[in-house]
């Protein structure tokens, strides 16, 4: 192991990107709500995700710089929460409830159908970048199970037919 190897392998890989005006505006608003900058970390990541679809390393660094906190610590927070995406996701993210009531009401068959139709498993994105399928804990709609959250809309009483409808509709809109 030579010194140059050691140094070369440890140089920083990514540079922070510049936050957009809208992102800065939104984050600055959040800053007014908390007594401590660090508390805004998660909110800021959500803001970036809202605008960029996911949180890239470049975005993470940008947020950390903006909040004057350690990027490492911020990544610790980012990777802790289920709904911060540290990998690119599809244009539509299916947050599919696979908790107990939905299980009883047959969500596994529905999921199998989605996987078959789209060719993706949990955590995967379709080749065309259209859909990502992510399991989430109970969505709190157990009386209308099975459910999923997609595009900000709660889809209830899911059935194979309903999935087909949803997919057809979204294909139409494209």
């Amino acid at each position: 192991m030579t010194n140059s190897q050691l140094i070369a392998s440890t140089a920083p890989r990514v540079q922070a990107r510049t936050l957009t005006e809208q992102e800065v505006h939104d984050i600055e608003h959040e800053l007014t709500l908390y007594p401590d900058k660090r508390a805004v970390g998660l909110e800021a990541l959500k803001i970036v995700q809202k605008h960029q679809g996911w949180v890239s390393d470049e975005s993470l660094l940008a947020v950390a710089n903006f909040l004057e906190m350690s990027a490492h610590e911020l990544d610790g927070v980012a990777t802790f929460f289920n709904l911060i995406f540290r990998q690119p996701v599809g244009r539509k993210v299916m947050l599919f409830c696979n908790s107990v009531s939905c299980y009883i009401m047959g969500c596994e068959q529905i999921k199998a159908h989605i996987s078959e139709r789209l060719g993706i498993d949990y955590g995967e994105t379709t080749a065309d970048g259209q859909f990502t399928l992510i399991p989430v804990p109970c969505l709190g709609d157990c009386d209308r199970a099975p459910v999923m959250l997609m595009d900000g809309e709660q889809q209830r009483n899911l059935s194979i037919e309903k999935i087909n409808e949803i997919l057809a509709e979204s294909a139409e809109r494209e």
Partner: protein, 426 residues
């Protein structure tokens, strides 16, 4: 007077009451009177006397919880009220109903709680997926502020309150009140050691009360109609009403406000219409995913904290999950174990490393590859992950359905091992 103080304004077929309609229905009357006539200590006394118990799952007396907050001249000036609206308990869908159905009720409840402990800032920690609740709450907070019920010197009382809505990003553990506080501070949501309790050192080290949405929604009624009225609402030992839900293979799954002390049968066979055609009741979890199974023989018990406790389970969130005879109990419990295993925060050993082991065993059992020794290991985990062993209540909660399932459905577990397949999979 009403006998459904939590849901009297709720009709999910229409938009919830805005400020005007809520006010018209008598909303904020109690708060206005409180600000004029009652000292914080009076409100505390009233809430203590009402017998209100926390509706988040643990059932701890609310007034008692509040009484640990330091008061007086030497008490810290900054205190916080935090609303636990991170509803994520499997099979639980009651707080969503309250927030989407009557957001001003929560705000009114928050005003009462914050006034009692003299907190000037309150955070609502809302689950990130509750998008509609977020919109409705933002609107309601705006309206309340416009009408001078939030902000500085509310109605000339000298009391200030800001309500800030915080939306989370999905972690079951945030429902644990100290983990929630860490999340709110922007940290990883590992729970904190207790003591010190949040009432003494909570959010940013300041005295903090964390209350569940439903708990707070009980307060306006108590202040408006008094403790006796509230106690009388309960049919049995416990005071007040509560939201109860039923999900699973029943004819009409749903969520209803009922007096505490109502027999379970009234809920399951009455309001929920009984089992769907072709399905039989095998067992049910009485209060979400972290409770022990009860059996059909328990249907005549009443919905009281102690009654359910004596039967070996917990009333917890009061939202029942029905296990029918077409669903594999091993699969159902396996689903819960997968959930708890994934939602462990990773802080303490038994939960972080014990639950994935349990989960792995369930996957093996379901696939028919299970062994006799697996049941032994599962049984050991009941104690290993039991109360007091782990850092917080997540893993002991997970052990509740597991332990009762091993007791009640032993045959089903053994059938999986014996036949090398899941008997429900055809």
């Amino acid at each position: 007077m009403t006998d459904t103080p939590l849901t009297k304004n709720i009709d999910m077929k229409r938009e919830p009451f805005d400020f005007g309609l809520y006010r018209h229905a008598g909303g904020y009357d109690g708060v206005l009177r409180m600000l004029k006539e009652m000292a914080p200590a009076d409100v505390l006394e009233t809430v203590k006397n009402s017998g209100l118990k926390g509706r988040g799952g643990a059932g701890f007396p609310t007034g008692l919880k509040w009484s640990f907050v330091p008061t007086g001249e030497n008490a810290p000036k900054t205190k916080y009220l935090v609303v636990n609206a991170d509803e994520m308990e499997p099979g639980t869908f009651k707080d969503r109903l309250l927030m989407e159905g009557d957001p001003h009720l929560l705000i009114e409840g928050m005003l009462i709680a914050a006034y009692t402990i003299q907190a000037n800032t309150a955070y609502i920690f809302l689950r990130g997926e509750y998008l509609r609740a977020e919109t409705l709450l933002r609107t309601a907070i705006g309206q309340a502020k416009e009408q001078g019920l939030l902000g500085k010197n509310i109605q000339g009382s000298g009391f200030d309150l800001e309500i800030i809505l915080h939306t989370s990003a999905g972690r079951y553990i945030c429902g644990e009140e100290t983990a929630l506080l860490n999340a709110l501070e922007g940290k990883r949501a590992n729970p904190r050691a207790k003591p010190p309790f949040p009432q003494v050192s909570g959010l940013w080290g300041k005295p903090t009360i964390v209350n569940n949405v439903e708990t707070l929604c009980n307060l306006p009624g108590i202040i408006r109609y008094g403790t006796q009225w509230y106690k009388d609402l309960g049919k049995g030992e416990d005071a007040g009403t509560k939201l109860f839900g039923v999900s699973g293979r029943v004819k009409h799954p749903g969520c209803w406000e009922l007096p505490l002390g109502t027999p379970i049968r009234e809920l399951v066979d009455g309001l929920a219409g009984g089992m769907s055609d072709g399905y039989q009741l095998r067992a049910f979890l009485p209060g979400g995913g972290s409770t022990d199974f009860l059996l059909p023989e328990h249907l005549d018990l009443t919905l009281d904290y102690d009654v359910i406790g004596k039967a070996g389970s917990r009333l917890a969130t009061g939202t029942m999950i029905i296990l029918d005879d077409h669903t594999c109990p091993v699969g159902m419990v396996g689903n819960l174990m997968r959930f708890f295993s994934h939602e462990s925060c990773g802080w303490c050993t038994p939960c972080r490393d014990g639950l994935p082991w349990v989960d792995s065993i369930f996957r093996r059992l379901e696939s028919g590859q299970g062994q006799e020794s697996d049941l032994q290991i599962l049984t050991e985990h009941l104690e290993y992950l039991g109360p007091g062993r782990t850092f917080c209540a997540l893993a002991p909660g997970a052990m509740a359905p597991l332990g009762s399932a091993l007791k009640h459905f032993r045959d089903d577990f053994e059938a999986h091992i014996r036949t090398g397949a899941c008997p429900w999979q055809k």
